[in-house]
């Protein structure tokens, strides 16, 4: 049991997808202008990623097998695109506001490098089904946590007296850099 806990802690804090592995940066920068958009995007990505890593493990383990290994990336992308399409329809139905706020970034989850990266990392690390599910869920949780924190900071920075040329995404980039600097404090926490 502690081993599963370690996976979770490691994916959320120690090697966080966005801050340490520097994956999934475009929605991280694009959607974090407003807090509820960030939370919406985070939840959508968590749903897609958990489902995606679970499905990709099944595909990889039972359908492809060793000889068809070259199909891994292709099949993963098809699976993920299907799940994202399904999520988009679900969100459009359940909360049109969130759908409107997320706008273009919802279909863009497909191109989010974390969403494809994590299943591939699963395959590389030879996780079993439970581990890859946890790894996917932990990675997405880390992504959501960091994005929500970042959205909180950016909403506060709207009112800050930032020098003209740094306003907007420039100061966001600097903040993301400093956040990644502080996440290095976690290094070594989990072997």
């Amino acid at each position: 049991m502690t081993e599963y806990l370690l996976i979770l802690v490691s994916t959320v804090f120690v090697n966080n997808i966005v801050m340490v592995k520097i994956l999934g940066l475009c929605p991280f920068m694009g959607v974090s202008k407003k807090l509820e958009a960030a939370v919406g995007m985070g939840l959508a990505t968590t749903f897609v990623l958990t489902l995606g890593s679970g499905a990709s493990y099944l595909i990889q383990h039972y359908v492809l097998g060793p000889e068809l290994a070259y199909l891994t990336t292709l099949s993963f992308i098809v699976i993920i695109a299907g799940i994202v399409q399904f999520t988009e329809m679900a969100i459009k139905k359940t909360s049109p506001d969130l759908y409107q706020i997320l706008g273009i970034y919802l279909p863009l989850i497909t191109t989010n490098c974390a969403v494809l990266g994590i299943p591939l990392l699963n395959v590389q690390a030879k996780h079993d089904f439970i581990e890859s599910l946890l790894f996917g869920f932990g990675g997405a949780l880390g992504f959501t946590l960091v994005m929500v924190l970042f959205a909180g900071i950016r909403e506060r920075l709207e009112g800050a007296d930032v020098p003209g040329i740094f306003k907007g995404s420039a100061i966001a980039m600097v903040t993301a850099g400093l956040m990644s600097l502080s996440f290095m404090g976690f290094s070594g926490l989990v072997k």
Partner: protein
């Protein structure tokens, strides 16, 4: 090779089925966006945005044809609301297209000939009068859209800016706040 093709076809068929089913179950009608945009616009129906009224401009924005900074009566605040609603960046007015001080139309009773042309032009029926009778404008209802200026054959309508009195006075933004000027 064949098995690879079979696998890919199998996966896509499975996904096609799931998506087809969910497309039906999650059917969503209409686009509620247009009403939301129209709610933000100031309803002066003045046409300064190049569209014959606020609803047509809202539809144009929803369809993405129109820009969000074409509405002077809405002011900067209007653009910010539209930008927030559509999730796009705030875009200031083009030069010269900015909002003007709020004004109300006023008919000079000496020269009005009672031709009712301005009556038909007013989008909010703020002008009282009849053929061959004296016309006058209800100041409280006039939105300042200046649509009645053009049709008037004798040019007896002029725009009077609303003066500042105790009722509509507003607190100014504190100027001596953050230390910007050279230390006094």
């Amino acid at each position: 090779m064949i098995s690879a093709l079979l696998v890919m076809i199998g996966i896509s068929l499975l996904l096609g089925a799931v998506l087809g089913y969910s497309a039906i179950k999650f059917k969503v009608e209409g686009n509620p966006l247009v009403e939301k945009i129209d709610a933000v616009l100031p309803q002066t129906q003045c046409g300064q945005c190049g569209y014959p009224g606020c609803m047509p401009y809202a539809e144009a924005i929803a369809k993405g044809e129109a820009d969000i900074n074409l509405c002077p009566p809405g002011g900067e605040e209007g653009i910010r609301k539209l930008a927030e609603l559509l999730g796009v960046d705030f875009k200031p007015f083009g030069e010269g297209a900015g909002p003007r001080a709020k004004a109300v139309a006023f008919i000079d009773e000496n020269t009005c000939i009672g031709c009712t042309l301005c009556l038909q032009a007013c989008p909010v029926d703020a002008i009282v009068g009849a053929a061959k009778q004296m016309h006058t404008i209800i100041a409280s209802e006039c939105t300042g859209c200046e649509l009645c200026l053009a049709p008037c054959p004798v040019d007896c309508i002029s725009m009077q800016t609303i003066p500042q009195h105790i009722g509509n006075w507003k607190w100014q933004y504190p100027t001596h706040s953050i230390v910007q000027v050279a230390a006094r």
